[in-house]
Amino acid sequence: MIQIRNLSKAFGDNRVFSGIDLDIAEGEIVALIGPSGTGKSTFLRCINFLEQADSGNIRIDEVSVIVHNARRADILALRRKTGFVFQNYALFAHMTALQNIAEGLITVRGWKKLAAHDRARQILEDIGLGDKGDHYPAALSGGQQQRVGIGRAMALDARLLLFDEPTSSLDPEWVGEVLALMQKLALRHQTMLVVTHEMQFARNIADRVIFMAEGRFVEQGKPAEIFSSARDVRLRKFLNQVKTY
């Protein structure tokens, strides 16, 4: 259902990644791991055009986009098929938790405010923040903010949820609740592509783990294979490093 072909991106002379192919099946949970600065986040951001790739092809369901001559309507269509969870949450600071979640339904989907708020309240219950709807982001903990960030992405029933290091800015005490919510989504077979440094997540929740280094997918497979019988030297080195850390 998600098909990425030959995706390449450079910033000036600096090639971030090139020739990347990726297929994700309906309901599949893919973890993208690798050292910092290898283009994982940029790759993720290229999928919903927060960054524009230089060449390649992205298809989600019936929406197929050739990135170098994507029209505005294509980009919008693609974005409406995907949800994005940011490392720094990026909640709308002037809106309550409830409004953050309802905003997409109202502005993008054209729902009536009442209906959107009802739906947002359901989602708040779902993410365990039923009593925090009237709180502004500034009054929420990091973990709560990130859960609202996930709720905002969930509200639009995206086919594919993209997570950009969703727990990296969190104090250790809040990581667990965010991972628990992601696991909850995984159990519902929400299709997800997760850039993460949480090896526990990659090992226990993902269906597939991809190791990215120097702008390429170096190795991929089921978590068990990746974590116990890695072939690539860089991957083994990387796994050793994250283990000690």
Binding site: L50, T82, N88, L91, F92, H94, V108, H135, A155, L156
Partner: protein
């Protein structure tokens, strides 16, 4: 000699009758300068080719020359060059001049406020499928308004006081009336003190309004 309090108090109701003209100029000026300022700021934020350079030139000119000179250029100068301006009445000319002048200042503080809003919120808006325009109107501008409000309010206060320059174009506002009364009674101190007090009172009133608006817009941030 000596201070004639009675006379000053008796002037107040006379001056108040012209307050509408002063406030009218200030309010129309506020509306038009804000609209123009937002347009100028957006042109600069998005770096629209050519328009960006033009708005930089515009801002540079209107910040770089005195308001009084601009008003004279507009009211006494332009009609000689462009026939369209011949029938321009003084009130309208003052509103246009004030709007053009203060838009230049406001554009810069609005631009700074927009740039100051965390970029990732714009991206978050786009990521849920908003258009660039929706993200600007729903996410960025409401927050930029809060940031820009104190300086916008300063410019508005400045503009209220600057409406007094309109009397040099012949607009019968409170300053003009005070001047007229003073020259017939020769009680300059009382007349100008009266008008000063009225300006001060207006500014206090709007400052109060500003405090209220700031408290409202800050709700999301102080918990």
């Amino acid at each position: 000699m000596g201070f004639d309090l009675q006379y000053m108090l008796s002037l107040m109701p006379i001056l108040f009758r012209y307050l509408g003209i002063t406030l009218g100029m200030a309010c129309w000026g506020l509306v038009f300068s804000l609209i123009l300022a937002v347009v100028l700021a957006l042109v600069r934020v998005y770096r629209l080719p050519l328009l960006d350079q033009l708005s930089q030139l515009y801002i540079s000119f209107f910040r770089g020359t005195p308001l009084l000179v601009q008003l004279f250029l507009l009211y006494y100068g332009l009609p000689q060059i462009i026939p369209l301006f011949v029938g321009l009445d003084a009130f309208t000319a003052a509103v246009i001049g004030l709007s053009l002048h203060f838009a230049a200042y406001k554009a810069e503080s609005i631009r700074a406020a927009i740039i100051g809003i965390d970029r990732s919120q714009r991206e978050a808006g786009l990521s849920i499928g908003m258009t660039e325009m929706q993200a600007m109107c729903r996410i960025i501008l409401p927050q930029a308004t809060r940031v820009a409000l104190p300086s916008l309010m300063n410019y508005f206060i400045d503009m209220i006081k600057s409406t007094s320059l309109a009397f040099t174009l012949g607009v019968a506002e409170i300053m003009a009336k005070a001047q007229m009364e003073a020259s017939s009674s020769f009680k300059f101190f009382e007349a100008f003190l009266a008008v000063a007090l009225i300006y001060w009172g207006m500014v206090l009133l709007f400052t109060q309004l500003q405090n209220w608006a700031e408290a409202r817009l800050n709700r999301a941030y102080n918990q």
